[in-house]
């Protein structure tokens, strides 16, 4: 009897399953314009243009090139620094744009005129504090924000990060690219300590569930591993917060959900999202994406190494090339001598990618941010 039950069980285990599904999609969709824009009052606005890529095709590297500007309801126009240049990522200075009025984005692409809806940026919230917290694995950047009189229950966060970090190795040798001989007395050490900068993409959405202007505590703005190089020496984060209209929050939030729908029994049925862009020249033409308008408040905070969990590079990732391969296989591919290794198959100078020993190649810069203390 037990065997029978076991057999039946095994048969049942072959049940609920997930299988690939490749529906036929109309390829005509690849002409649809996608707009991802932000009108930042008191800051720099940005308009990023792209095309929709049909499913099954590679992400579209062919980007639309056009012009974009910001208009306010008073008839003022805010142009990019090079208004005649066609581009797909357009920055528009709006530091001088005043609050309390409506704005919209205007775009010209492929001979068609596009506009966003008119939007009045909400008054900025007040960031009461930016602080850090860590658990066994991550460091969290948290903000306490008072939404203020124009709080909607939804906050958007953006941030700029700056941190000082070091390369993984200080090299023990360098190689002469003419003689292909090692030089153990390194004359020019590659830069080991660098600064790095990162701007958040998209908005960090927080629904603090209240519209009465109460304090939104411990809003998680960013998190990173405690082993991340942000912990190497010093880490700064400039947290920017803005009150987000509900429709904008929901658009961004739902867009994120739509990309993560699991197809379980109770997954919501997906739907087509309509943003706030429209094509003035061809009203029937669908436009994807949204342009937001915001007034931001910001606060910077920093930590040093208090949450760092120190890690050591894995020497096993270093390779021991044959001398005849130094140039053709490794040097031209960006590999450099790193340190001596001793293995069963032999010993010698192990090579690794240059980014392991050069923090600039690893994305850093030696230019110290102006606010650095």
């Amino acid at each position: 009897m037990k065997k029978i039950i076991r057999y039946i069980t095994l048969l049942f285990l072959a049940q609920a399953c997930v299988y690939p599904y490749n529906p036929e999609i109309d390829s005509a969709v690849n002409t649809l314009l996608v707009v991802d824009g932000s009108i930042i009052i008191g800051g720099t606005s940005s308009i990023n243009l792209s095309y929709l890529t049909p499913l099954g095709e590679d992400p579209g590297y062919q980007k639309p090139h056009g012009r974009a500007w910001i208009e306010d309801e008073e008839g003022n126009t805010y142009m990019s620094s090079s208004p005649s240049v066609l581009a797909s990522n357009i920055s528009i200075p709006t530091e001088e744009a005043p609050g309390g009025r409506k704005y919209r984005a205007a775009i010209e692409v492929d001979g068609l005129q596009y506009y966003s809806d008119w939007m009045e940026p909400l008054a900025p919230p007040v960031i009461k504090s930016v602080h850090f917290r860590a658990d066994d694995r991550n460091v969290y950047v948290l903000a306490d924000v008072e939404a203020g009189s124009e709080g909607t229950g939804y906050l958007g966060f953006a941030y700029e990060e700056d941190w000082e970090f070091h390369a993984e190795y200080i090299p023990e040798a360098e190689i002469d690219p003419h003689t292909w001989q090692y030089n153990l007395l390194i004359k020019n050490y590659p830069p080991y300590w660098c600064y790095k900068h990162f701007n958040s993409q998209g908005a960090v959405l927080v629904n603090y569930g209240s519209t009465d202007g109460t304090l939104a505590k411990d809003c998680v703005v960013q998190s990173f591993l405690r082993t991340n190089n942000r912990n190497h020496k010093r880490y700064y984060i400039l947290v920017k917060a803005y009150n987000m209209p509900e429709e904008v929050y929901r658009y961004d939030h739902y867009l994120q959900e739509l990309s993560e729908i699991g197809g379980t029994l109770f997954s919501p049925e997906p739907g087509q999202l309509t943003g706030n862009m429209h094509c003035e020249s061809k009203p029937e033409l669908q436009v994807l994406g949204m342009v937001r308008a915001a007034q931001m408040s910001s606060m910077r905070a920093s930590i040093r190494t208090e949450y760092m969990i120190e890690t050591y590079p894995d020497d096993n990732t270093l390779v021991l090339p044959s001398p005849e391969d130094y140039e053709t296989l490794y040097y031209v591919s960006g590999y450099r001598p790193v340190k001596s290794v001793n293995r069963d198959e032999g010993s010698g100078i192990g090579w690794g990618h240059e980014r392991c020993i050069n923090c600039i190649v690893a994305g850093g810069t030696q230019e110290k941010p102006s606010f650095w203390e």
């Binding site: 048969l11 299988y19 969709v29 209240s210 197809g263 029994l265 087509q272 994807l288």
Partner: protein, 1020 residues
């Protein structure tokens, strides 16, 4: 025994023999074939070809005599149906055979043999049927001859055997009746089987007929011809002290008659078929030469009322059906009428009644044990010709048990889904869709209570324990005026009433669930109880599912319990108490736990008048709650609960008025909805909050009339005045609902019907999932959300072919709705105080044609149906698909269904279920783009694509219990395979974007290969 006989004889002697002879003789002479002896059910006709005969020896009837219902008849033609153990009589050689009610036959004689009915004589342990007295005396030898039905191919010996029995042997027919003999004796008041052949021989020797002949003389058996009443029994019996009537025999029978249906009181109760029933009084109340017969149909074995019994009059072609409590009322011309009573798995009953005025006639129907189980839905045949309403489907519990379903559990919702016009968005999905309506547009009633979530285990099982259900009716079109509050359909599940006579029960054991039920009398014939419950042990299966199934590390379980009490104060008044509890819990991957609970309770008082009028007053409480526990979000963990609580009061009165059957009543429902209560869990920073409670009242009045204009033409109409008051904002809605259906039957087997109804709905399911889910919330109408209204027009043709062998029907319908609710893309439906901003009032239209061919009786039973239907929605605001008509999520244009059961023998059968439908509409991504720091999906317009078509075949082999009537328990076994072809039917499709930006599409199949199952049921 020895002392019984003299007493019995003395009783007989006390009867003035001459008077009796004269009375009976004269009566028989005058009445001829109209004598009460010949007023019963026609002899069995076995619906298959066979060799041999089911009669004892020969098909030819022989002249004989019988002691029946305390009276002696002779010079009649007799034969014994040895297969059914029924005595069949004919007034003459040419007339049709009539079955005598076995409980009234004490003995009979034919062909020089004498047969006795041991049960009649008080031997309750004796097998049913008749026993030939081979030897009489102190230790008699009794022979019971059975005919068995066999099926065998080409066996020469068997053929010979049959040839000996039947000169009309047909070698092409492989089924035949064969004789089987069993010997018994009586000792110490008990019946003992003599299985040993040697013992049988010895007894024959000891009582050698030559040495001790049966003193059987026709002369001694003709009391009508002037014999003394001593002659009512063979002289040898009297002298030898053998089989005789026990002491006080006739008094005992009288007592038995009254205890069989103790609630009958003064009503005429038709347990005996050989009577001419005179209803009412000469000169009594009648209208235009017509009068009403009303009564209750009871089941003989349990004494429980029988719903759904078809009562029709042969002369006027008038048909009615007994209601949930077995009540019926039929209006007929004064004078003689032939009333037929047909019920599933019950012996058909044909009674001649002489109607003199309004009166009552209760009916007791006995279990049909002789026919193949294929006949279990024979009562459904011709049904469409008997009812004026259209779009009404009955699913019998026995039919349901034969429909293969996942894990072998008989399931009401799954059975309903095999009917044309009923769809679901996918297997293992809660809820169902009827003729283009959404799942929340179905009113699901369990008794008088409303069930808001009719599913267990996210739709794998329905919430109804089949052991606790008496009958199921689905109204797709002609919805009675007494029902309201939903615009699409009504699923009426009637709870079973406990057995009034004896303790019974059942146990079912399946792969995922087990169930038990027990019922019986608390006061015999007066008060009964019924209780049942189900549990599941499905956790172990979910935990072992593949990780990518989304259910890995999940857990699931459910339980439900029913309790019913009923008390019959007398024939007219009864009270019922009903309680139901069901709880579900399940979690996916251990992160979120869902729970939902149904609690229902009600009390119902019923009155049934002698004039066929009925009154019902019921009140109760319905509760539905769900709970979503998200406890893995650390500082954001929370519990979210929603509640529906409603109290109701219903009063309903029905009364026959000539050709009219008038009904009117009142419904009153008070709603208390808590749309969301969020509480933090643990150290969570979630702020506790709750949505405002919604309260409302929904009083309604209705009146209806079923008018049999002529024997061929009938109308059923009604008006329901529906009102709704949202208390919080004092919003009041009101409007009439109209119900009208008509039937014209130019022929007995051909009917045309038209129907029209309008409906209103004030409570709405708020959902953005494809199926009913525990995350869904309900919302009452308010100033921003108007009631959903709709109308449906339908027409149909119903044609019964091949006698009653095939029912063919075509129904078409068109329906429209307004103010249905759909959701905006990205709608936030939970804990949203501005929910109406997320919703879009949509209008809907649906139309379709349903063709069905049903074979209700025979070895092969079942139905095949095809439906073409469309269900479309439109958002006037233009938010969805720019205001164009779009497919409803449950729009499946083509649908083919086949349900079949083939009975090899009375015990073994094979069932198959085939289900095909167009894939349901879905919204799918058409492309991707980079936005907000990640790749996003752009979706098509709503429901413009479809998932692959659905196709499934299920098969099951059923072994029914043996037909040993005295066995303590009856065991049935079902072995089957769900999804025989292993087709990977998709439940849903979804798309995920990888970090590299690649978008992958997936289908989720719930049952992606064959699902074998075994189900064991034990009845006791």
């Amino acid at each position: 025994m020895k002392r019984l006989l003299p007493l019995a004889l003395s009783l007989l002697v006390a009867v003035p023999a001459g008077a009796q002879d004269k009375e009976l003789s004269g009566y028989l002479q005058d009445a001829g074939s109209q004598a009460t002896l010949f007023r019963g059910r026609l002899q069995n006709k076995y619906p298959f070809k066979y060799n041999g005969t089911f009669f004892l020896e020969t098909r030819k009837f022989q002249e004989g005599e019988v002691m029946y219902n305390g009276k002696y008849y002779n010079h009649i033609f007799l034969n014994l149906d040895a297969y059914a153990q029924e005595l069949v009589v004919r007034p003459d050689a040419m007339s049709a055979g009539i079955i005598l009610y076995r409980d009234q036959v004490s003995w009979f004689g034919m062909d020089g043999k004498r047969f006795v009915n041991l049960r009649y004589m008080g031997y309750s342990s004796a097998p049913e049927g008749y026993f030939e007295v081979v030897r009489d005396g102190e230790k008699p030898l009794l022979l019971q001859t059975y005919k068995r039905f066999r099926s065998q191919t080409g066996n020469v010996a068997t053929s010979k055997e049959i040839l000996e029995l039947d000169g009309n042997y047909n070698p092409a027919v492989v089924t035949y009746f064969v004789k089987e003999e069993r010997y018994y004796t009586l000792e110490n008041g008990q019946v003992h089987s003599i299985r040993n052949r040697a013992a049988q021989s010895r007894m024959k020797e000891v009582y050698n007929p030559q040495l001790s002949p049966l003193n059987w003389s026709k002369d001694q058996w003709h009391p009508l011809e002037g014999q003394s009443t001593d002659g009512l029994l063979p002289a040898s019996t009297a002298s030898a002290g053998g089989i005789g009537l026990p002491e006080g025999y006739f008094e005992e029978r009288k007592a038995t008659d009254t205890t069989t249906v103790t609630y009958q009181n003064n009503a005429l109760t038709a347990t005996f078929r050989n009577k001419l029933y005179v209803i009412g009084q000469d000169g009594g109340k009648s209208q235009n030469g017509r009068a009403s017969i009303s009564g209750t149909v009871f089941e003989a074995e349990s004494g429980a009322p029988l719903p759904g019994v078809v009562i029709f009059d042969d002369n006027t072609h008038t048909y009615v059906r007994s209601d949930a409590k077995g009540h019926y009322s039929i209006t007929l011309p004064l004078g003689e009428n032939m009333l037929n009573y047909n019920a599933e798995s019950k012996e058909d009953l044909a009674l001649k009644v002489v109607l003199e005025s309004n009166g009552s006639l209760d009916i007791v129907m006995t279990e049909k044990i002789t026919l193949l189980k294929g006949s279990i839905i024979s009562a459904e045949s011709m049904q469409q010709h008997r009812t004026t309403a259209m779009g009404v489907e009955n699913v019998s519990m026995k039919t349901m048990g034969k429909i293969p379903s996942a894990f072998g559990e008989g399931d009401i919702i799954k059975a309903v889904l095999t009917l044309p016009g009923v769809k679901s968005v996918g297997e293992a999905s809660g809820g169902f869709n009827v003729r283009g309506g959404s799942a929340d547009q179905n009113l699901i009633m369990f008794g008088d209570n409303t069930i808001y979530n009719p599913s267990h285990l996210f739709g794998m099982f329905s919430a109804f324990n089949p052991d606790m259900v008496e009958s199921v009716e689905l109204y797709k079109s002609s919805i009675p005026a007494e029902y309201g509050g939903r615009i699409s359909s009504v699923l009426s599940v009637k709870a079973k009433e406990g057995n009034l006579q004896k303790i019974k029960g059942s146990v079912g054991i399946g792969l995922l669930t087990s169930r038990v039920h027990i019922e019986g009398p608390l006061a015999k014939g007066k008060t009964s109880f019924i209780a049942g419950g189900r549990i599941t042990y499905s956790d172990w299966i979910l935990k072992l599912l593949p990780a990518n199934s989304a259910y890995a590390n999940g857990g699931a379980g459910f339980g439900d319990a029913n309790l019913g009490l009923s008390h019959h104060f007398d024939k007219h008044h009864s009270l019922e108490l009903f309680g139901y509890f069901a709880n579900d819990r399940f979690s996916f991957s251990g992160d979120t736990t869902f729970r939902y609970t149904n609690i229902n309770a009600s009390a119902t008082y019923r009155y049934k008048g002698d004039d066929g009028s009925t009154f019902k007053l019921s009140g109760g409480y319905d509760h539905y709650s769900n709970n979503i526990a998200i406890h893995n979000l650390e500082s954001w963990s929370y519990d979210l609960q929603t509640f529906i609580r409603q109290g109701f009061l219903k009063a309903k009165r029905e009364r026959p008025l000539g050709r009219h059957k008038l009904g009117y009543g009142l419904d009153f429902t008070a709603y208390f909805l808590d749309p969301g209560i969020m509480t933090p869990y643990g150290e969570s920073q979630v702020v506790p909050r709750s949505m405002d409670r919604e309260t409302a009242l929904e009083p309604s009045l209705y009146v209806s009339d079923l008018w049999n204009i002529t024997d061929k033409l009938s109308l059923d109409g009604g008006v329901r005045v529906s009102t709704f008051l949202a208390l919080a904002n004092k919003k009041f809605y009101a409007g009439p609902e109209f119900r009208l259906s008509g039937k014209y039957s130019p022929l007995d087997n051909l009917s045309f019907k038209l129907g029209f109804n309008t409906m209103r709905q004030y409570i709405h399911l708020i959902s953005n999932t494809s199926g009913v889910s525990p995350m869904d919330t309900w919302k009452l109408s308010d100033p921003d959300i108007a009631p959903t209204t709709g109308w449906q027009g339908a027409g149909g043709v119903y044609w019964t072919l091949l006698g009653a062998g095939l029912d063919f029907s075509v129904e078409g319908y068109y329906k429209q709705s307004r103010n249905g609710l759909d959701y905006k893309p990205g709608a936030v439906l939970t804990m949203n105080p501005n929910l109406s901003n997320e919703l879009l009032p949509v209008q809907g239209r649906a139309f379709g044609v349903e063709v069905m061919l049903k074979k209700p009786a025979g070895r092969l039973t079942g139905w095949v149906s095809y439906s073409f239907s469309r269900s479309l929605l439109q958002d006037p605001s233009g938010t969805i698909n720019s205001g164009a008509w779009y497919n409803a999520p449950y729009d499946k244009p083509h649908e083919f269904k086949l349900v079949g059961n083939f009975a090899f023998t009375r015990r073994f059968s094979f069932s198959v279920n085939v289900d095909y439908s167009t894939g349901r509409p879905v919204t799918i991504p058409i492309g991707r783009y980079y936005y907000g720091g990640a790749y996003r999906l752009a979706y098509s317009e709503r429901n413009t694509h479809r998932i692959p078509d659905y196709f499934r075949v299920d098969a099951a082999f059923n072994i029914d219990p043996g037909h040993y009537l005295k066995a303590f328990a009856h065991v049935s076994l079902t072995i089957g395979v769900y999804n025989v072809t292993g087709r990977k039917n998709p439940y849903s499709v979804f798309f995920q974007t990888s970090p590299s930006g690649t978008v992958n599409g997936y289908m989720l199949s719930i049952f992606a290969s064959q699902v074998p199952y075994v189900n064991l049921n034990i009845l006791f």
